[in-house]
Every structure is written in structure tokens, then in C-alpha cells.
């Protein structure tokens, strides 16, 4: 389990409503209001984007909105820092390939 159900110091983590959203066409669950990156992490997603020239994978690195490694296409808008963008029910997230969406075979 990636989510910490109970923490020895912090107790139970407060969470928002359980919602569904979409990642490259797949339906995933997360908690409303948590950073998109956290919901993806809980679902086991490591790669958020591929760099434009070398096509190298990138994922969460700083988790505070500074490094831009975690940017993805959110509801059609590229370069969204998923580590500081709150999850909203029904969001469509796409792995970013350079500046466009990754081709996914469904």
C-alpha cells in the first residue's frame, strides 16, 4: 500500500471525497483536493512526461512546484504542475510527450 492509512505521529490523514478521474484513458480513483501527483502516485504511476528531445521519462522530483518535472496535460492544457494542482472529479490527465499528449493505444 502506498497510502499511509495510519501514522504513528500524525494519526489518520484527512482526505477529501473519493472521486474518479482519467489517466491516458484509464479510470483511476483519488481524493478530491489532493495534488494530482499524489493520486497518481497512489495508483502506481511513476512517469508523468517524456522530454522533448531525448524522450527521457520524468516524474515527481521536488513535489513543491519548483522543478517542473511533474508537468502533464490536464484537461487539454499542457505543462500543468501536477504536484501542486488539486485533483477535481472527472479530470482528464495525459502523460505529456514533449509538449503534446502521449499516443496511447486503448
Amino acid at each position: 500500500m502506498t497510502r499511509i492509512s495510519e501514522h504513528p505521529i500524525l494519526g489518520e490523514t484527512e482526505k477529501g471525497r473519493r472521486v474518479t478521474f482519467f489517466m491516458d484513458g484509464k479510470t483511476i480513483e483519488g481524493y478530491a483536493g489532493e495534488p494530482i501527483a499524489v493520486a497518481l502516485k497512489a495508483a502506481g504511476v511513476m512517469v508523468h512526461r517524456y522530454t522533448q528531445k531525448a524522450h527521457e521519462p520524468r516524474g515527481i522530483f521536488c513535489a513543491i512546484g519548483r522543478c517542473t518535472d511533474c508537468v502533464m496535460i490536464v484537461d487539454g492544457v499542457p505543462n500543468i504542475r501536477t504536484c501542486i494542482t488539486p485533483l477535481v472529479e472527472g479530470m482528464k490527465i495525459q502523460t505529456q510527450d514533449g509538449v503534446s499528449g502521449l499516443e496511447v493505444s486503448e
Binding site: 497510502r3 499511509i4 504513528p8 502516485k41 512517469v47 522530483f61 513543491i64 518535472d69
Partner: protein, 535 residues
């Protein structure tokens, strides 16, 4: 354009403390922070802080943050979140980005308290998903309740690396190794000892040579380094990990000060490029101050004092505080700050090799290389005639062997069994003239989890050891598990004979184990058997 008497940039401990002092003097104060949550680093710190009472010692970082926020609200400070200060211009004008909107603000005084950014290192594969900063690990586990990974290798043995390693284990992750290119542990020995006794191996004078994996981290290779920090071929070691955590130092985020035109200096002891400041944090530009990590990497405890000092100085600058009141109040704060700047980890001691404690005892080399005290160290520090309580029955054993600014243990013991004295960096001593009741307050108050209660006369052939425990599941009375040594080596079975938790212990559980009397001075941790089987 909106105007304030004081604008503070950064709502961390330094910024909030500055704003509170200034607002209490009657100033109209605004604080801007780029985060969605105020508090800076504080809300990620779930351990008990060092220092003394006036520095909020033994209180967990996030609780200090809650107190500061309540005080700021009460003093009438306006805190703007999701507000990034993008620029500072002549005449103390600030450009603030809130969402898509750029706004201008004007202040009569400004305090920059933007904190620090994490340093990075590069190695083959360092950009792979799964390589993360220590701050990211803290954000994920302590703010959002998610494990950064299952198996983690930590690079960096400073306080950040040590504290975050412990926090990772508290979150339920496995820390497979702690690696540092330096030949010695950089952070507090008591923090190192906490993770060593959980069995985490230390690899000093080692570095990461590559992160393995194609789409994300699946392993890591480390190697020993020579005196020039170059990897030595043939010394490579591999670990299966899914996460590599980097804790290789912090650099002041001083760009805004530079942009404002302050005189800057390069000072490695303060962590890099920092503004030239006077004792109250005033820069070369009158009315513009810097406080906290941005003007030199230190601690939250000192950041709060520096913040308060610059808040008072700003108030005096605009005439909200008389010069005399300012001087009186600053004098007290200077003493409080000075007491933190003593001992082995003082800013002035950075980079120096320290051979002896202030008391003249040779420091533990084992602690610096492996993270735990060895038998010879025990003779020098613990088994000295003045440190052992010869009376029968329960008594404290204090394994705190470095001069760090900390003394909650002394305040905790109302029986007077523990003495630090006036200089808070002095080593705590046992006063055997006073008898210990076994109340456990010293264990729970010790920020370094370095105090144990030992009773060699618990039962014929058996000793009892009471130790601090901050993991889940909490052990149950009657349970049988494994006693671990200071290095995390299994010593044999241990029975849990008591489990205590109390509000005054603040989430630290006091676990008492029964072990063969020969282990009275070697058993220092407890591991439930289920875990032991899994490893």
C-alpha cells in the same frame, strides 16, 4: 496600489515570527507565500525540536507552526497564500503573482524570509522517476499521507537526511542504506543513532554511481570514494530500491535580495550567496531586512528569533517602537540566539574536525562513521563513575555525547536527576544523588530519543529497559519480539512488560522490554517478530 507598513515575503517560521512582532507593535503587516499552506518547512517536521524552552524545544515542528499561525491571526497579520513575489523594485515596491494576476504592492519596510532551496547532485540516471529530493519525500508522506516509495536509499547524512530517513521508516518505508560522500556523519549523532538502531547501514565515504532502471528507478549502485571524492573501481555495491532520496544540503533563496540591489556576499558557512546584514538582519538597503534560512542556513529555532529581531527592528525603523524599547527587547533575543550558536554544530564550527567535547572527552568516532556508540565510547561517556547510578533499581542512561544546543531532558526531570546546566550545549549529566521514579518524562522529552531507563534488578537474571517508540503497530504488553543492539543487530528475544502512552509524552510511546541482564547496556531497540521474519 495597496500599501502596508511592512511586507514579509515567506510565511515560514522566520517570516511569521517577524510579522507577529511587527503587528504587535501596531504595524499593518502583510505576508506573502507562494504555497497554498503557510508555515514553510515547519509543517513537514513531525519530530520534537531541539533547543531549550524559549526555543520551543521538545515541541514537534508542525505544532510550532500551528501556534505561530494562531498568533499571527490574533495580531492582525494578513497572510496571502498562493502569492509569489516575483520582483522587488526601488522604493520598496513588490510585484506579486496571484494565480494569473500580477499585482503591485508598496511597503515602507520589507522583510525577506524566503528560506532555502534544496541542492542537487548528478549521477548516471539521476533524472529517472523515483529519484526525489528529501523535501519531496517529506511533502508526500507528512502533508499528503503517501509513501514516497517502498524501498529507499538516502543520500546525505546531515540532519535533513537523518531526520527524513527516520520519518520514512515512520511512514512505513524501508530505508536500505544511508550514504554520504563525506567521511563522517554530518548531522547530530542522536539523530544518526535513532536510525542505526533500526538496522539502517551507514556508508560514509561512498557515493551513488548510478540509478538503475529504464522508465523508473529499480535499483541503485554505490561505490566508495577516495580523498578526492572519486569512486574507487571495484568497490561498487548494488541495492534493489524503487526510490533514491537526495538530502545534499540547502542553499539560501536570496534572488529577491539580489534583485532589490542589496550587497551580497558568498559565504560557504552560511550556505552560499547571502545578503550582507547587520545583527538585526538589516541589509545594505535601509528598511529592507532578511531573516531565516535566506540569510544563512540554520534551524527553525534560530529562524524564529532572527524573524522576531528583524520585526522589531522594522518597527523601530518606522517609529512604531522607541529605540530604547527596541534595544531592551533585542538584547534578550540576542542572548537566546547566541545560546543556539554554541557547541559542535555552531555556524562557526562548520567544516572543522572536532576531536573532543567541551568537557574534554574524546568524541565517538563510531558514531561519526557508523551512527552508533561502540563499547569504548560507553566507557568514556556512560560508564564513568559520575554517570552511573550505583543504587539498585531503575535509573536513566543518557546516550547524548555531542555538544548540541538542547536541554529539555533537564526540565523534564522534576526530581533533578538530569543536569545540563546554564550552557545548553553542555552534555547532560546524571545526578545520582537524586533518585529516579521511572516516570519516563525524560525519555518522552528527549528530542534525540537518547534516554533510556534501565533496571538491572528487574528480576533475577533479567533487566528491564524502557525506550522511546514512535512506530506502528504499537507493541502490546506480553508480546514477544526481538531486542536489537545500537547497530540494529538482533540480540535475542525480548518480552514487552509495559507499554505507556500519555498526553504529556506527546505521541512517543514508552515501551519496556525484559531482556537477560547481560543485555542491560546493549539492547536499545525493539522489533516485533513479524517484521524480523520479513527482513
Amino acid at each position: 496600489m495597496k500599501r502596508y507598513d511592512l511586507i514579509v515575503v515567506g510565511a515560514g517560521p522566520a517570516g511569521l515570527s517577524a510579522a507577529i512582532e511587527a503587528a504587535r507593535c501596531g504595524m499593518r503587516v502583510a505576508v506573502f507565500d507562494e504555497n497554498a499552506k503557510p508555515g514553510g518547512q515547519l509543517f513537514k517536521q513531525i519530530h520534537k525540536f531541539f533547543g531549550s524552552k524559549e526555543h520551543q524545544a521538545k515541541i514537534r515542528g508542525y505544532k510550532i507552526g500551528e501556534t505561530l499561525l494562531a498568533e499571527a491571526a490574533e495580531a492582525g497579520v494578513e497572510v496571502f497564500l498562493n502569492a509569489t513575489v516575483a520582483g522587488i523594485y526601488l522604493d520598496k515596491e513588490l510585484l506579486v503573482q496571484r494565480g494569473e494576476v500580477m499585482e503591485h504592492f508598496k511597503a515602507d519596510t520589507i522583510i525577506i524570509a524566503t528560506g532555502a532551496a534544496e541542492n542537487m547532485v548528478t549521477f548516471e540516471g539521476w533524472t529517472l522517476p523515483g529519484v526525489i529530493g528529501a523535501g519531496a519525500a517529506q511533502t508526500m508522506m507528512n502533508l499528503y499521507g503517501i509513501k514516497p516509495g517502498q524501498k529507499v536509499l538516502m543520500l546525505g547524512s546531515g540532519n535533513v537526511g537523518l531526520v527524513v530517513s527516520f520519518q520514512l521508516m515512520q511512514a512505513g518505508c524501508e530505508v536500505v542504506a544511508l550514504v554520504d560522500a563525506a567521511p563522517r556523519v554530518g548531522g547530530y549523532g542522536v539523530h544518526a543513532a535513532k536510525i542505526a538502531r533500526c538496522g539502517v547501514p551507514f556508508y560514509l565515504a561512498h557515493t551513488i554511481t548510478k540509478a538503475e532502471g529504464s522508465n523508473c528507478v529499480t535499483g541503485v549502485e554505490i561505490a566508495q570514494v577516495d580523498d578526492d571524492f572519486a569512486p574507487i573501481p571495484g568497490t561498487e555495491k548494488h541495492f534493489d530500491v524503487d526510490t533514491i532520496c537526495l538530502a545534499v544540503g540547502l542553499s539560501p533563496m536570496s534572488q529577491l535580495l539580489k534583485m532589490a540591489g542589496c550587497n551580497m556576499v558568498d559565504d560557504p558557512r552560511r550556505g552560499g550567496q547571502v545578503p550582507q546584514v547587520d545583527e538585526n538582519g538589516e541589509t545594505s538597503i535601509p528598511g529592507l531586512f532578511a531573516a531565516g534560512d535566506v540569510s544563512g542556513i540554520e534551524e527553525a529555532s534560530s529562524a524564529m528569533i532572527q524573524g522576531r529581531m528583524s520585526g522589531l527592528a522594522a518597527a523601530a525603523y518606522l517609529g512604531f517602537l522607541s529605540e530604547q524599547d527596541k534595544d531592551n527587547r533585542l538584547a534578550d533575543l540576542e542572548i537566546a540566539l547566541d545560546s543556539l550558536h554554541q557547541g559542535m554544530f555552531a555556524p562557526g564550527s562548520k567544516g572543522k574536525t572536532i576531536a573532543k567535547t567541551d568537557e574534554g572527552i574524546a568524541v565517538s568516532q563510531s558514531l561519526l562513521k557508523k551512527g552508533y556508540l561502540d563499547d569504548a565510547d560507553l566507557e568514556r561517556f556512560i560508564n564513568r563513575s559520575d554517570q552511573t547510578d550505583k543504587k539498585s533499581g531503575i535509573h536513566p542512561v543518557i546516550e547524548c555525547t555531542q555538544n548540541i544546543p538542547c536541554n529539555p531532558c533537564q526540565d523534564a526531570c522534576t526530581r533533578g536527576c538530569i543536569k545540563v546546566g546554564k550552557t545548553i550545549t553542555a552534555l547532560p549529566r546524571i545526578d545520582a544523588a537524586n533518585s529516579c521514579t521511572g516516570c519516563g518524562m525524560c525519555i518522552a522529552s528527549c528530542s534525540g530519543q537518547a534516554i533510556f531507563l534501565v533496571d538491572e534488578d528487574y528480576a533475577p537474571g533479567y533487566a528491564s529497559i524502557t525506550l522511546p517508540y514512535e512506530f506502528l503497530p504499537r507493541p502490546q504488553k506480553g508480546e514477544l519480539g526481538i531486542a536489537l543492539s545500537r547497530s540494529g543487530r538482533p540480540l535475542g528475544y525480548a518480552e514487552i512488560i509495559d507499554v505507556r502512552s500519555a498526553k504529556a509524552y506527546d505521541q512517543t510511546t514508552l515501551v519496556t522490554i525484559k531482556v537477560p541482564v547481560e543485555q542491560a547496556m546493549t539492547a536499545r531497540f525493539y522489533q516485533p517478530e513479524t517484521n524480523a521474519a520479513g527482513q
